[in-house]
Each structure stands twice: as C-alpha cells, then as structure tokens.
C-alpha cells in the first residue's frame, strides 16, 4: 500500500496507470469482439470450438471498462451448435435472438416456430439442451471433457410421452435428426466422445435396464398384447429372453447374456442395416410404447447423467460423494 501510494504520487504516473487499466479493459473487449467474430464467421470446426471455449471462460468484468449487454454463457453453446450444423448444411435447426432479452433460442423446423430450445446448466455443471418450457435435459454437453450424452429418461419423457400428444412420429423423427447430426459432427470434426443412448442404432448396442431384476410377468404382458397385432414374441434359443419380430426383419430383443451370472437384462434392436434404434421402436410401435410406458418402473433403461470426477474434487479428498460418481461413469463406458 505504502509503495503504491508513493508510486502514484506523480500525476503522470497516475494517468499512465489509468490508461493502462483502460487498455486492459479494452484488450478484453477487443479479445471479446475477436472471439465473437470468430464464432460467427469461422468455417473451421476447431476454431469454432476454441472460440466457444474461450467465450465460455471469458470474464468480461472490468472495473474501468463496462460493456453493454453481452450474451450469456449458455448462448455460446447454442451458437456453437448452430454454427456447426450450418457447416454441415442443416437448415432445420435455426437460431434466433429474442429482441428484448437478447437471449438466443433455437427452433427445429419439424416442431414449428413456437417450440424454443436453449442450453441450461445441468445438475452436474454441463450444458444441457432443453425445451425452454420443460427443462428435460435432452442431451448434456461438456466442452472440457469433450463429451456429449443423450439422456434416455428425458428422451422418453420429452418425445415419446409429451411429443406424441402434439406431433406425428415422423415429425418427431425429423426433430431428432439435427440433434443427432450435431452429435455426429462433434464426433467427426472434433473427436468428441458421443453417447447416443437409446438413439443408437448399432445392432450390438445394449440398453441396460435400470432395475437389477426383471419379473417374467412383464414379458408375459407383452406376449399377451401381441395377440391383437401382426407381430409375434419368440423365446430366445438359450431361454435367456424374448424376441419381438416386427416388419422388415426388425427384431427387438429383451434378454440377458446367458454366460453372465449377474443376468443384466437389456434391450437390443436387430435390423439388417443397423438403422433402427430403440427410440425409433418406441416412437413407431404403439404396442412397444404402451407396454414400455405401462411397465416403466420395471423396464426403464438406465439413464446415467454425464458426470466427471473433476481433478479439483479429487484433490479435495472428500471422496464420499465422489466415489459413486466414478463408479457410475465406469459402468457406462
């Protein structure tokens, strides 16, 4: 303090210091403008990600230079999504700025102009993509750990339960497309790790049930329900579950690995081109949807949140709350 006062005794020094402080503030501003420009204009996915990351972490607060309204952190995520989709020539996903709040919102053409999406911070500190009126975290994004995970529970709640009240299955299928394209672009262009959850279409993918045990009565109910349809439910060769045969050689299996003593039950979807996801089946087949929803306690597919044991938390050593986090994460990888 003493030194400081002595140093600032001279007016020129004071002016210098003030100018320096303004300079610093302006530098932040210039940096900010540069990042915004990059976010808005770059054609390079890596530049886009860097700009988003920098903007998310940028502290615009300065004692000497005040900037007028600026965007919120969540807006940068949305802009990242919009720009990346734009680079992949997707026209279904549009971003608009609310003229009064200056917040950004996204619309998806299949759902119309009135359904608005944005990012919010989820419970684990990731950016979660949600309907502004709903808060179901359809997917969560973590830039630091370069990971995106769809939330199975939210997908069912938002699209299968609520979505189908207002939209056709085809509209909802279209609505999912830009979200999947975004995930794919993050993976292809920026090496993100992607967990599509029940949107995954690989024939090998297992959708584990959340409950450790499954009463066969639940499968009996599906069997009984098929009597009114053209589809049939078969026993698997090793008596380790059931297979529902649908059209075009699409099969839904609910089974466990007979060599696995834990008997973890899981859904899997087999189709000749590996194009169909469990989500698609829930969306298109009333038989499966009604059965799944009326037995949801037993049949719910695991829906792990996107969680990271951050370095900081590990260092704190208070591992009581961290341990299950680590376990959950491992289970899912």
């Amino acid at each position: 303090m003493m030194n400081n006062k002595q140093m600032l005794n001279q007016p020129s020094e004071q002016l210098n210091a003030l100018a320096h402080s303004f300079d610093h503030g302006l530098e932040i501003g210039q940096h900010y403008v540069k990042l915004l420009t990059k976010l808005a204009q770059t054609d390079d996915a890596h530049d886009l990600l860097t700009a988003t990351n920098d903007l998310v972490n940028l502290d615009l607060e300065d004692a000497f230079v005040k900037f007028p309204q600026h965007y919120q952190v969540a807006d940068y995520y949305l802009l990242l999504m919009g720009r990346l989709l734009e680079m992949h020539s997707n026209a279904e996903f549009k971003i608009t700025e609310d003229p009064t709040s200056h917040r950004f919102y996204a619309t998806i053409s299949a759902l119309g102009e009135k359904v608005l999406f944005h990012f919010i911070k989820d419970a684990e500190g990731n950016a979660a993509f949600t309907d502004v009126n709903d808060n179901e975290p359809i997917f969560s994004l973590n830039l630091k750990h370069q990971m995106l995970r769809f939330n199975n529970k939210a997908l069912v709640n938002y699209f299968i339960i609520n979505g189908l009240k207002k939209y056709s299955d085809l509209d909802l299928r279209s609505a999912i497309k830009p979200l999947l394209l975004f995930a794919q672009a993050l993976h292809d262009d920026l090496n993100f790790v992607i967990d599509r959850g029940i949107l995954g279409t690989s024939n090998q993918q297992h959708y584990d049930l959340a409950q450790p045990e499954l009463s066969l009565t639940v499968i009996d109910r599906l069997f009984v329900a098929t009597a009114e349809t053209d589809y049939m439910l078969f026993n698997l060769p090793k008596n380790n579950g059931a297979e529902l045969r649908l059209e075009r050689q699409v099969n839904l299996d609910l089974s466990f690995d007979p060599d696995d003593y834990s008997q973890q039950w899981f859904f899997s979807v087999q189709d000749p081109d590996a194009q169909v996801s469990f989500f698609d089946l829930l969306l298109h087949y009333q038989l499966i949807r009604d059965w799944y929803l009326s037995n949801r306690d037993e049949l719910a597919v695991k829906s792990d949140p996107l969680m990271f044991a951050d370095d900081e938390q590990v260092e704190q050593g208070e591992t009581i709350t961290d341990e299950p986090v680590l376990e959950d994460d491992e289970q899912n990888d």
Binding site: T217, R221, F223, V224, A227, M232, L233, F234, N235
Partner: protein, 295 residues
C-alpha cells in the same frame, strides 16, 4: 405210412425251415442294405409292407409278414432315430411351427412353436410317420378355430367373468364411505324402531326391524369382502394373465396353421395323408433308386 409220413414231414420241416430262414435272411439283408444306402423309402416298405402297398402302390390286402418283421422289434428305437433325420427335415418345411425334442433314443416330443410361451403338443411316431397329438391340447386348438368364427377366444368367457368380478370388487372398495354413511343411517333407524319394540310390538314394526337388521348385515358382509378385495383383485389379475397367455398361445397356433395350410380342415387333411405324402417325397429325392425298385 407213419415212417414215410414222418419222413415226408421231416422233409417238409427242413423245407419250411430253409424257406423261413431264407425269408428272414432276405429280409435282414434288405434292411441292412437299405440302412447302408440310407434308403428310407425301402426301410418304410420293409417295416410295414401292408400299408406301403396300400397307400403308395395302391395294392390292397398285402399282408404283413409278422415273423420277419418281428426280427427288428428290438431295434425300433434305433431305426426311429435313423429315420427321424429325413422325416424331421421334411416336417420342418411342411410344418414349420413344430419343434421336436428327442427325450430318449427314437422318441420325440412335439412342441408347438418357439414363441415366448408354448405348449407340448404330443409325440412324433417316426416309424409310422404320424403325429400322436395330445387329445386335450388338440381339442383346445380345434375349439379355438370353432370359436374364431364368432370372433371369440378360447378363454374369453372366463376372462369376462373374472373381469366383471374385479369391477364389482373395485366398486366395493370405491364405495366404502357411502357404506359407512348408510350404516350410520340404518343404525339410527334401527334404534328408533327398536325403541318401539317389546311384547306388544306390531307386526309392521317387527318386519321393518328385521329388514333393517338384514340391510345392516348385508353392509357388514360387503365391508368384510371389501377388506380382502384388493388382494382378490390382484389374484384375479394373475388368473386373467394366465388365461390371456393361453389365448395368445392358441392365437399364435391358429395363425401358424392358417399361414401354412389355409384352414384347420386342410391341416387335418395333411395329417391324414402325411405317410403317403412323405414316402412319395422320398421317391423324388432318390429317383435312381426308385426306378430300380419299380422295375
């Protein structure tokens, strides 16, 4: 006379023995060769010449020679196993919904379908090329086809009855409060009526007292029943589920038969002609051997 007769007889006897042994040897040799060539058609002919002549060659009244046929009695299980390979392969195409389990050598259980829940449906008699369906199970299926003409299912009536019972029980549970109010009201009325009873009670008063007591008793019975109703409903739902499962199994079976045969009658017809159709199909498979046989 006696001696010469005896000699004559002895001569006849050795002739008979020679002839019989020659027949047996010939029979066994033919069986041996047919097995070596896996000439199943020939084996079927040797095992039941009478039926073969009638159904394949359309020659009536060819008796079976039991004395030679009994020679293979102790290996029928093995023959059955041997012949099952081609037969089950054939049946797999003609009756794609049947599945077989060899529970002991040459003995096969039939399962109808490989769906989530299925029925054991009888046995396959390989040597006679026929299904031995379990009568009870077969009758259920037959009945299913009959009922389906009226758009009814095998267990529909039972399910409807139990469902109605569950509705009644649910109603009991839902109206507990009304019952309570009704009871209070009736008790007050009873108190009122009872105060006017005694040695000089009027017949009318007596009657209304009795009817109040009866009404209260009825409420009490309902109350008693409603206490266990929730559990009964649950138990009934379980019964409905298993009845529905049986309905589903039967509807799958019906669907399979319609897909393959077009009607239950055509299914039965195919079963009746199975022997002839199968043996004829073997001829097609072994054309060269067949022409040899026929010459």
């Amino acid at each position: 006379m006696a001696i010469s007769g005896h000699e004559q007889f002895a001569h006849d006897v050795s002739g008979i023995i020679n002839q019989r042994i020659a027949e047996k040897v010939s029979f066994l040799r033919q069986v041996d060769e047919a097995v070596k060539d896996h000439h199943d058609k020939k084996i079927y002919q040797l095992l039941d010449n009478q039926r073969y002549a009638k159904e394949i060659e359309h020659r009536e009244q060819q008796p079976n020679n039991q004395s030679v046929m009994s020679l293979v009695d102790d290996i029928t299980n093995y023959l059955s196993n041997f012949l099952s390979i081609k037969l089950i392969d054939y049946l797999g195409k003609k009756y794609p919904f049947f599945y077989y389990e060899e529970y002991e050598t040459g003995h096969y259980r039939i399962y109808f379908g490989n769906w989530w829940d299925r029925r054991e449906f009888g046995e396959l008699d390989v040597l006679n090329v026929r299904f031995l369906f379990n009568d009870d199970e077969y009758d259920k299926l037959k009945k299913t086809f009959e009922l389906s003409r009226d758009n009814k299912r095998y267990n529909s009536d039972k399910i409807d009855k139990i469902s109605a019972e569950n509705d009644r029980l649910q109603d009991l549970i839902d109206h507990q409060r009304e019952r309570e109010e009704q009871r209070t009201k009736l008790q007050e009325q009873l108190k009122d009526v009872s105060s006017r009873s005694g040695i000089w009670e009027s017949t009318k008063n007596k009657e209304s007292r009795q009817s109040l007591i009866d009404a209260l008793q009825k409420l009490e019975d309902e109350e008693e029943e409603s206490r266990t109703a929730a559990q009964t409903i649950k138990d009934n739902e379980q019964v409905v589920l298993s009845l529905s499962k049986e309905n589903t199994i039967l509807s799958y079976e019906q669907k399979s038969i319609l897909d393959t045969f077009g009607s239950f009658e055509d299914f039965e017809l195919a079963n009746r002609n199975l022997y002839a159709n199968y043996i004829k199909s073997l001829s097609d498979d072994q054309e060269k051997q067949v022409t040899d046989d026929e010459q």
